[in-house]
């Protein structure tokens, strides 16, 4: 166990000030290294001349005289913070950011016109208003009191051997000595201890990141820039993996867990980090290179498994897995390898995977789950395509963690079904008045070519519903669809049963004719009432022989006959137990109905255009049980172009995305591991088999993981298999295998924590609880679990018990309080006091939390916040290596970050905001919005059109990248929020600033002191 410095050598820390109260900058103690503010980036839009500044905030900048923060020499061109250093302007296809030197000199420069601005705090550019007044003492040290790499001589001399105070110049010198690069991996990456540097440019980046270094503790920078591309992208993880693959596991257990203190603002940059890599022992797989299952397929909350249930219990960690079984490679990613021959274990039916072992001179293989010896099929060394012998070690199923098998006849209970879509469109009065019918019809019409239909087998049917059902009979011969009205709702019969569900390709003319007229068809005779129940019964009858998708476009509350619902919304229920009742179905009609549909392979998806209450909670079991998706557009109006654009693009994406039909999903794991509960939109058919009448790449299924008995061996295995019918009529099995190392020590377990996945898992569990029990229970469970995790046994982990007011935690969970707060403030769970959040919105949020993959869910819970007026030089341009747009550094989610001359972007997957300060530079306005003054802009929804200038293109590139990071799941509406916007708009924006106090929920600092109190009380 690593030695920790005695408390006496630590710099005395001031007691915590009340949250929000200004604190003096730290006195100039010797050796206190200051939080290094990210240096001003080269591109800045200064405030207009004479602009007053907002009250100063943030950490002190510039540092007090005489205390040079660890920086590179003045005058050097400076890179943007947390990003790779600036490349020479010529190396980029675009232009380098034009610096704005003189205050009035806003002139968009041509490429290469000006060099990056030198670091010069006296250049007259109040790009960073002097800040003071917020917690300013060093926080979150990176306690890398881990043994340094033996190669780094001076590293051990200055940084490690004696826990001496680290002077700023020493810290700085660490970065300037090339041989020391190896000793300072970004702390948060120091997963296994000593590693190679992340990349060659790492030393240059370190000084740019906000660092909170407690003297005497660390030489590694606290805040690591993320040199690897942000989480979600494969290359970074792979790159790290290669490095980690080089080191053994043996070193890990001697090192303490890198620590962080919970005090001061959260280290928000950690949100962009990839999950900790899976450290597999060498030779874990049959082939030499490590075979990894990316987090986009299977993401575990802890990237290792405890060996005993006792260790699991003691660690108090949340153990869970999130599977995105149908994650389809996007453009640019290599397609999944396809295998023809299925080899499975005789006993446990595990599919052949890279982690099995060959024995008996390669004639048998040993299953890695149940250790049964199986015969290797004779054709295993033979390539049927080239009809020649092949090297079995080059077979795709031995080299890839995710492969697709072509399933033979035994995997089919009937011929593979074609794609079937039944569109149930609400044409009642509400739908006519909000104009959704026309928008939907147009969007479907435009995506007819994009519906996955490779062999022209797709069937469609249209059903419009108000007080009666209207069927449309279409024939290949005529382009004139015939409307057939069925007013009898009690037992809706199908008129002309053979002409309602028609082949899309054959009846294309009639379908197009129908869709182009649908928008106007009902305008003349509006009828109130919406017979959803009878429509569903009729739709089921239409496709019960074949299965398929029922897509409901709903605008009003179902009021007719079976499944009729009442308006039970009650604003007075806010904050009471009754509020939770509103999240439960009012009738069992829909759950019973969908359970009858499951065996028929029917799924239901919803698009809800709700200007008023539609009781989503009652109809949601339809989508929840059958694996359907839910989209919702509150207060939709077809007169708002932003609404129309969003609906159209999401409807089109929904129809164009690949679908897996009549799917089942099974999860296997090494013996001793159980999955007691599953979360997501599915039906649990048996303890490990999920029925998914329809599976989409967007949906994620989570499972709790428990240990029943001790695990043997040094690896635990998880294998998922998704059997589905592709839209092309092929029966396929997608198999993903994840291997996790089994650890025996608590500290090793803590190194593997993926805090983002933990919160995603916690969120899914919490919303499940909110629906099945009460909201209040769910909130308490979330808070309780978070407290459990931070109240861990510190001595076991080698953490110093810090002075008063500080909570040392492993660095791997440094964001846990912020993420928990984000979850508690999210619409899905938020306690709003007496303010009533419409229960439809809450139900919708719950649905999304339940289905989103973790990489989409995280920004949904905790927004991403960027300053657009001071972009670093490389932000908004494609990265030289990955060609992905570089994002600007993340800002803390606090209104303290807002400045009057600023332009900020707040991004969530469903909605994004641009906040504009009143003293914003007119040049910036001209560039981005094409207006010359602040007054010309109005707050509210806004369509941002790309303009022909560098700045606008960069911002569009950044926004496009953010949307692509959330898998294009939604097309978020953009709101402009001017500094003096209406209170309602501003509160919409401020609700996403997680670190601020909102409604009745604590601010981040209050939350920390709340945690502190609870921990002391324990």
């Amino acid at each position: 166990m690593a030695q920790m410095p005695p408390n006496s050598t630590q710099r005395p820390r001031p007691p915590p000030a009340p949250a929000g109260a200004p604190r003096p900058p730290p006195p100039g103690q010797m050796g206190a290294s200051y939080p290094v503010r990210p240096r001003p980036p080269p591109l800045q839009y200064p405030p207009g001349p004479g602009a007053p500044r907002l009250p100063p905030s943030g950490r002190p900048w510039p540092p007090a005289p005489g205390q040079a923060p660890p920086m590179r020499p003045m005058g050097e061109p400076q890179p943007g913070m947390m990003r790779p250093p600036v490349r020479p302007p010529t190396s980029r296809t675009g232009s380098p950011a034009p610096p704005y030197n003189p205050p009035q000199a806003y002139a968009p420069s041509r490429p290469g016109m000006m060099p990056p601005r030198p670091l010069n705090s006296t250049n007259g550019y109040p790009s960073h208003p002097p800040r003071s007044g917020t917690p300013s003492y060093p926080l979150s040290p990176s306690v890398s009191d881990t043994p340094r790499s033996p190669t780094s001589q001076s590293g051990s001399a200055s940084g490690h051997t004696a826990r001496r105070r680290q002077y700023p110049d020493q810290i700085a010198s660490v970065y300037t000595q090339p041989q020391l690069q190896a000793v300072a991996p970004p702390a948060s990456y120091s997963y296994g201890g000593s590693t190679a540097p992340m990349n060659a440019s790492a030393p240059a980046q370190h000084p740019q990141a906000p660092q909170y270094i407690v003297p005497g503790e660390a030489s590694a920078p606290a805040a690591a820039p993320s040199p690897a591309p942000p989480a979600y992208s494969g290359p970074g993880v792979d790159g790290m993996q290669n490095q980690f693959a080089q080191m053994g596991l043996g070193t890990a257990s001697h090192q303490a867990v890198p620590a962080a203190l919970l005090a001061g603002p959260p280290e928000i940059w950690a949100l962009e980090q990839p999950p900790p890599p899976v450290e597999l022992p060498p030779n874990s797989a049959l082939v030499h290179q490590p075979v990894l299952c990316g987090p986009q397929h299977i993401r575990s909350t802890v990237n290792c498994m405890p060996n005993t249930p006792a260790l699991m219990k003691k660690s108090k960690l949340l153990l869970g897995m999130m599977f995105t079984p149908f994650k389809t490679p996007e453009e640019g990613e290599p397609p999944l390898p396809v295998v023809n021959e299925i080899v499975r274990c005789r006993r446990c039916r595990t599919y052949f995977n890279p982690f099995v072992q060959f024995t008996d001179s390669l004639y048998k293989w040993v299953c890695n789950m149940c250790h049964l010896k199986n015969d290797v099929p004779p054709t295993f060394d033979y390539d049927p395509h080239s009809q020649s012998p092949m090297d079995r070690f080059r077979r795709p199923e031995l080299n890839h963690a995710v492969v697709e098998y072509l399933a033979p006849a035994p995997y089919m209970s009937r011929p593979p079904q074609p794609p079937v879509y039944v569109f149930v469109i609400d044409v009642s009065f509400d739908a006519i008045s909000n104009g959704s019918i026309g928008v939907v019809a147009q969007a479907i019409l435009e995506s007819l070519d994009n519906i996955p239909n490779p062999d022209g087998r797709a069937l469609v049917a249209f059903l419009t519903v108000d007080k009666a059902l209207q069927f449309y009979s279409m024939t290949p011969e005529s382009t004139e669809p015939q409307m057939l009205v069925v007013p009898d709702l009690s037992d809706p019969f199908l008129p002309y049963p053979n002409q309602l569900l028609v082949n899309l390709a054959e009846c294309r003319g009639a379908v197009e004719e129908f869709l182009s007229r649908l928008g106007e068809m009902f305008r003349s005779s509006p009828s109130t009432g919406f017979a959803l129940g009878p429509a569903l019964v009729a739709a089921k009858r239409l496709i019960q022989h074949i299965g398929g998708k029922i897509v409901v476009y709903q605008s009003s509350l179902p009021t007719e006959q079976a499944g009729a619902l009442q308006d039970r919304e009650d604003a007075k229920a806010a904050g009471t137990a009754k509020e939770s009742e509103l999240l439960k179905p009012a009738t069992s009609f829909y759950s019973t109905f969908i359970q009858q549909c499951l065996g028929l392979q029917i799924s239901v998806d919803f698009f809800v255009f709700a200007s008023k209450y539609v009781d989503l909670a009652s109809v949601i079991p339809l989508a929840k049980t059958s694996g359907g998706s839910v989209y919702m557009y509150p207060s939709f109006l077809s007169t708002k172009p932003e609404d129309v654009h969003r609906v159209a693009s999401e409807v089109k994406r929904f129809l164009a995305r690949s679908n897996g039909w009549e799917a089942v999903f099974r999860i296997r794991a090494s013996s001793g591991i159980r999955f007691p509960a599953y979360y997501g939109h599915h039906f649990l058919r048996s303890t490990d088999l999920l029925t998914l009448p329809n599976v989409t790449p967007d949906h994620c299924y989570a499972a709790d993981v428990t240990l029943e008995n001790d695990l043997s061996g040094n690896m635990a295995y998880f294998q998922t298999a998704l059997l589905y019918t592709s839209s092309g009529g092929e029966r396929r099995i997608r198999v993903a295998t994840l291997a996790l190392p089994i650890v025996t020590q608590m500290r090793d377990l803590f190194r593997g924590i993926d805090q983002q996945a933990t919160i995603a898992m916690l969120a899914k569990k919490a919303v499940d609880r909110a629906v099945n029990a009460k909201l209040e229970d769910a909130r308490k469970a979330v808070e309780g679990k978070m407290l459990d995790m931070v109240s861990l046994d510190r001595s076991e982990l080698g953490l110093v018990s810090a002075g008063m007011g500080q909570i040392p935690v492993p660095r791997a969970i440094n964001l846990l309080p912020l993420l928990t707060l984000g979850l508690l403030k999210h619409d899905a769970l938020a306690a709003m006091g007496s303010f009533h959040l419409p229960s439809d919105l809450r139900t919708y949020a719950i649905t999304q939390v339940l289905t989103m993959a973790p990489e989409v869910l995280l920004p949904y819970l905790v927004a991403r916040f960027y300053a657009l007026h001071e972009l670093p030089a490389e932000a908004g341009y494609p990265d030289a290596q990955t060609q992905l747009t570089v994002l600007p550094p993340l800002l803390n989610l606090s209104s303290e970050k807002l400045v009057r001359h600023g332009l900020f972007l707040l991004f969530t997957p469903t909605v994004q905001f641009m906040w504009i300060g009143r003293d914003i530079h007119p040049g910036l306005l001209q560039d981005i919005f094409g207006v010359s003054s602040y007054q010309e802009l109005t707050s509210g929804t806004f369509t941002l059109t790309p303009r022909d200038n560098d700045m606008s293109q960069r911002i569009h590139a950044i926004m496009a990248r953010l949307v692509s990071l959330t898998r294009h799941l939604f097309d978020p509406t953009l709101y402009l929020i001017k500094e003096d916007a209406a209170a309602q708009l501003r509160s919409m924006f401020h609700a996403h600033l997680t670190e601020d106090k909102a409604h009745h929920i604590m601010s981040y600092q209050q939350f920390l002191s709340h945690i502190r109190e609870k921990l002391q009380a324990k």
């Binding site: 759950s591 359970q595 079991p621 007691p676 509960a677 058919r685 048996s686 303890t687 088999l689 099945n772």
Partner: protein, 139 residues
Amino acid sequence: MSWEALAFLLGLVIAAILMFGAVWFVILLTDLEADYINPIELCNSLNQWVLPEAITHSTLFAIFILNGLWFPSLINLPLLAWNINKIAKSTYHYDPMQVFRHVATYKKEGMIKIGFFLCCFFYYLYGLIIALIHESAIL
């Protein structure tokens, strides 16, 4: 035969029926775990017997009360209260979506019920005999 003996006789029969009912519940739940039955079928078959079971049991309770048999009423009171509570909260139905999460609890409940009805059965038998002896002693 006195009313008391009749009540015990009825109790004897009902306890036996309810016990076999509970055994059947447990068998079905075990089948579910072993994947011999799918949750929708299971819930459909179980749900139609939940209310009849509760009603039968409360009838028995009423018979004991009306006969002034305080002790047998008392031992049946907890189960009655538990049934009423479940029905009042409308959590008495087995939900196919949730059944896998609670299958262990349901099985435990089933086993406890079996034990309870078995004990009751012998107690009612004893009560019946005592009542009959008492009757013959009077005659």
